[in-house]
Symmetry: C2
């Protein structure tokens, strides 16, 4: 049996915005500037940041990830959620029905998101070819181990398969800190 290794990418708190919200926050016809490309093709961390304001606390310099999306979405850790005073569910990206909102402030204006705050469900991006070779299907739940002094097996890690994806396991800062791992470390998919 072969061992399937996956690079780990730690997602700090970040926000995806619609074109409409970018216009309110930064001005009409404003275009995000790429600071650096992300692991998934076409995605980038923008130079621009916003302030997010919850009922209990706020965070400045929250990174925008581009390009613009069909719905705005703030992804935070559960630790962040306590600090902001919101109670977001653990969700897959894009599944924002029934999630709490938040206030977002930019240099040109402010937006009240009615929904879109989530704790991102941990997941692994697979390219279609790799997934086929490894016998992994889209939406499959995986068990994934990271070694070290805080070694952890993450259960229920969602497989996401697309020919637009590059191999990467995405966890949030709580998960990374609990397991003592950083971006660039390696995880192993366990086969029962």
């Amino acid at each position: 049996m072969s061992v399937h290794k996956v690079p780990v990418g730690v997602s700090a708190r970040h926000i995806h915005l619609t074109s409409e919200h970018i216009a309110v926050l930064f001005g009409n016809n404003y275009t995000l500037t790429s600071l650096k490309p992300l692991s998934q093709p076409g995605q980038f961390a923008a130079e621009e940041t916003v302030t997010v304001i919850g009922p209990k606390g706020s965070f400045e310099k929250v990174r925008i990830l581009g390009p613009a999306r069909a719905a705005s979405q703030l992804e935070i850790s559960r630790t962040d959620a306590f600090a902001l005073g919101v109670r977001p569910p653990v969700r897959e990206s894009g599944h924002i029905e029934g999630t709490p909102g938040i206030t977002v402030r930019g240099p040109a204006g402010q937006v009240e998101l009615e929904r879109g705050v989530i704790v991102a469900a941990r997941h692994i991006h697979f390219h279609t070819k790799e997934a086929a070779e490894w016998g992994i299907e889209d939406k499959q739940l995986l068990r994934v181990k990271v070694e070290g002094e805080r070694a952890v097996v993450f259960e229920r890690v969602i497989a996401r398969v697309s020919d637009q994806f590059a191999l990467d396991m995405h966890i949030d800062t709580d998960e990374a800190n609990a397991a003592g791992v950083s971006t660039g470390d390696t995880a192993v998919i366990l086969t029962d």
Copy 2:
């Protein structure tokens, strides 16, 4: 084979202080007041709190746990460590050789700890009788599972056995948030 269940106790950031440091922070002959008893016999959360100040950030209202100890020790999560700007190792309580220091401020004065900042290594307190019945030895490393939508197996959980202890698994807020568990939830010790 029997299933061994353990209650989970989540430790938020907290500090243990020597009598000398309590005197500097709160005044000569000051005695801590118990706010509520903790799971371990004789231990209590004090009404008193302090401010801890690192090179990058600070936290107010950090709870003191009593009674006074032989060495002062600040226990924080890795998330907290990034916010404060310190790099503490993962350590068992009391093992503070070579750990970073921090500034602690109270209503009557300020103390510069030369060392004592740790990220507490996750552990389970067992009473001697229970440990004997379950075949668990002091210092043994255990694998412990928590169920739920963020189900996790924590590896390398340290067993601590004493006739002064009550059964409780102690994890920090990063670990609790990563696993989606709260104080009072139940974990299960895995037997291979």
